[in-house]
């Protein structure tokens, strides 16, 4: 599970870094910094998109767990 002090670039796999929602200038920010920027008023668009990529990664990683028969 992504921790607040994890760096965005360490959380997002190379494949999703090819998405238009990935912003390399936000890659060194922590997950907490990205969440805070995304929750700001008005929300930071790049942070909002990076947050979605992090959450998608986490969701897909979990999909493989506990599925073995």
């Amino acid at each position: 599970m992504a921790q607040d002090d994890d760096i965005a670039d360490d959380l997002i796999p190379g494949s999703l870094k090819r998405s238009k929602s990935y912003h390399s200038d936000y890659g060194k920010k922590t997950y907490k910094e990205i969440k805070d920027l995304a929750a700001a008023n008005p929300p930071d668009q790049k942070a909002r998109q990076m947050k979605k990529l992090i959450e998608q990664t986490e969701r897909l990683q979990k999909k493989g767990k506990g599925q073995r028969s």
């Binding site: 796999p13 190379g14 494949s15 999703l16 090819r18 998405s19 238009k20 929602s21 909002r48 998109q49 979605k52 990529l53 959450e55 998608q56 990664t57 969701r59 897909l60 990683q61 999909k63 493989g64 767990k65 599925q67 073995r68 028969s69």
Partner: protein, 175 residues
């Protein structure tokens, strides 16, 4: 070894590799399975998911999206592909409008599927004379149907179950 057993064994390997975060190896296993079972929607979904998790990508994200769209077409009766496509459209493409449509399709299919299951379960509980469980299933069906028991694909079956619950079908003729 029969085909089904081989399929399940291979899937088990895929999920073990997935848990170990060896996404490249898991993807290779899924690709091998897809050659044998090309029309399997679940394999398309697994493939698209693993492509997104690759650190050293061999496929474009557009290919992952296409695989999800194909999965939707291959198995219209299952909500899984539409829901997965919704996640992709919202989280990867940041296209919530397109995602909303995919989620709506998936949720609608899931609702129908759940209603079908609950109606069947209610009938079984009725046979076992388990009234409390029967009523719980029926309430859930009614909730899913939005308490509209007169129209829709399961209207007649819901009416039958309701009449069983209250013991007087004529009392339910409310349309």
């Amino acid at each position: 070894m029969n085909n089904l057993r081989a399929f399940k064994q291979k899937l088990s390997i895929v999920y073990r590799l997935w848990e170990e975060k060896d996404y490249d190896a898991a993807l290779a296993e899924v690709e091998s399975l897809r050659k044998t079972w090309p029309g399997n929607a679940r394999l398309h979904i697994l493939w698209a998911s693993l492509v997104q998790l690759q650190d050293d990508p061999k496929h474009d994200l557009d290919e992952a999206k296409q695989a999800l769209q194909q999965a939707v077409e291959l198995d219209r009766g299952s909500p899984a592909a539409a829901i997965e496509l919704g996640h992709f459209l919202d989280n990867v493409e940041d296209n919530p409008h397109a995602a909303a449509k995919a989620y709506a399709d998936g949720v609608s299919t899931a609702r129908q599927l759940l209603m079908d299951g609950l109606i069947g379960q209610a009938k079984v509980f009725r046979q076992f004379e388990k009234r409390e469980e029967f009523l719980r299933c029926l309430l859930e069906v009614l909730h899913l149907a939005g308490f509209k028991t007169v129209k829709g694909p399961y209207a007649e079956e819901i009416q039958d179950l309701l009449s069983e619950a209250v013991g007087d079908r004529s009392a339910l003729a409310c349309d």
